[in-house]
């Protein structure tokens, strides 16, 4: 039995919605806030989206989407092309291999898992930037970026759950 038009549209929405959320987060991440000091430590919010969907619904966030969102982060942020594309791919890869530990666990456990992943991404991005610049890059902003990313993850999760709930209702 071939899927009806609505089922197809629904399937499309299933993939598009998480990607759209990640793109929106990438844009919000660079938007001008006028809050002193925030720009230098603003977390790369799409990392949280990749983490969430790779954990709970990896099918809705395929690797090419993670790559494309990472590329957008690079293009918007002025980081060398490919740095965050690679970082998001690695996040997806790592989370996919570890997701069975997160499924059905209390939020605090998942949150600490995210903290580990965020720390790893910070380190990876830092290393890639150092290689690209040919010198050691300042570490302090990356540290604050990490702390901020961990701090906002619960709010991000609320957003992701809301989007996910909408998708579930639709199907």
């Amino acid at each position: 039995m071939s899927p009806t038009l609505w089922q197809r549209l629904d399937g499309l929405a299933g993939v598009l919605a998480p990607a759209a959320v990640a793109v929106g987060l990438a844009l919000i991440g660079v938007a001008h806030t006028g809050i002193p000091g925030l720009a230098g430590i603003a977390p790369v919010l799409p990392i949280a989206a990749v983490f969430f969907w790779s954990t709970y619904r990896p099918r809705l966030f395929p690797a090419p989407v993670a790559f494309a969102v990472g590329l957008l982060v690079d293009l918007l942020g002025g980081t060398p092309l490919g740095v965050y594309a690679l970082v998001l791919l690695v996040v997806r890869l790592v989370v996919l291999s570890q997701r069975r530990y997160f499924l059905g666990k209390p939020f605090l456990f998942v949150w600490s898992g995210f903290a580990l992943v965020a720390a790893g991404t910070g380190l990876l991005a830092w290393a890639l930037m150092c290689i690209n610049a040919g010198q050691a890059v300042l570490t302090a902003p990356a540290l604050f970026q990490f702390l901020l990313a961990v701090a906002v993850y619960p709010f991000m999760t609320r957003l992701f759950l809301w989007v996910d709930g909408g998708l579930m209702q639709g199907s």
């Binding site: 844009l27 720009a39 990472g70 690679l86």
Partner: protein, 295 residues
């Protein structure tokens, strides 16, 4: 959950895993390839960035309005908490006076030169565009701004980005409606400067921190904390004498300069065309030629 894969290509288990692994390897290789490409083929990457900048600039501008309102509200609360109202007024006045000081110094220097060479024809004033800052991007590893003015508004690659207080950075990419300003605090920013008191030349090198470093200072030059640092005009990127900052600290670890501009509070910047293409090459020079033909 299962039903949602309805439109997916149906492949048997092992084959699908193989295809997925292969595509993942391809994407990882592509990411590394792009990093290399960005190092070698900068024009293509620049064009791509400019295109994306053009596309998202209107969105970011819309986003930045409420964010700016929130930012202003935060600022206001801060104002109530401290003696900020008075403080702000004085700071503004101070900035204005510093501005005048800059003008006076420049005029003084110009005057001296003019007296030496009588009947000199003065340079035409620079053409400028004022642009709203729509994104301060870069996160932890880069320092740049996206502004909502592009080539259609007269922005040109190589423009100096300034505020009344001083230098902010320079324009490195220009799209039709947006431009990217590399801040003087960025890791890749190198600006030829002179110390105003001793006229010693140096390079102001950004390292992503708030205070860039002074490098390649000649040996034996005495540097005082609080000394003014201005552009030297060498390398032809900026005209000489643009105010940059003030020496903030002199230690064994190096000399740090505090920029005059509070870079994280920028709302608008002016992109000035001094007609100096400099080492940035053709685009600036072409813009100048076009402009020269206009009148």
């Amino acid at each position: 959950m299962k039903a949602r894969s309805g439109s997916d290509l149906r492949l048997s288990g092992p084959l699908r895993v193989a295809v997925q692994r292969l595509s993942l390897a391809f994407l990882v290789a592509l990411a590394f390839g792009l990093m290399l490409l960005g190092k070698a083929e900068t024009v293509l990457v620049e064009r791509l960035r400019a295109g994306v900048g053009d596309t998202v600039a209107p969105v970011l501008e819309a986003l930045s309005r409420p964010a700016a309102a929130v930012g202003e509200a935060v600022e206001r609360v801060n104002g109530w908490l401290a003696l900020a109202a008075e403080n702000d007024r004085l700071r503004e006045e101070n900035a204005r006076l510093l501005n005048w000081q800059t003008v006076a110094r420049r005029i003084e220097a110009e005057n001296r030169v003019l007296r030496e060479q009588l009947a000199i024809v003065p340079d035409p004033g620079p053409a400028f565009v004022t642009a709203r800052v729509v994104a301060d991007s870069g996160g932890a590893f880069a320092r740049s701004l996206l502004v909502a003015a592009g080539s259609t508004d007269g922005a040109i690659k190589g423009n100096a980005a300034l505020t009344r207080a001083g230098l902010v950075g320079r324009v490195v990419e220009v799209g039709a409606r947006s431009a990217r300003v590399l801040l003087l605090t960025d890791l890749n920013s190198r600006i030829p400067v002179v110390l105003e008191r001793t006229r010693a030349r140096a390079i102001l090198a950004g390292d992503n921190s708030r205070r860039p470093r002074l490098e390649f200072l000649p040996e034996g030059v005495e540097v005082l904390v609080g000394e003014r640092v201005v552009t030297s005009g060498h390398a032809g990127v900026f005209p000489p004498g643009l105010p940059v900052g003030r020496v903030a600290s002199v230690t064994d670890g190096g000399i740090r300069v505090e920029p005059f501009v509070a870079i994280d509070k920028l709302e608008f910047v002016q992109l000035l065309d001094y007609g100096l293409g400099g080492i940035l090459g053709a685009p600036g020079a072409r813009g100048r030629a076009e402009r020269a033909e206009e009148p």
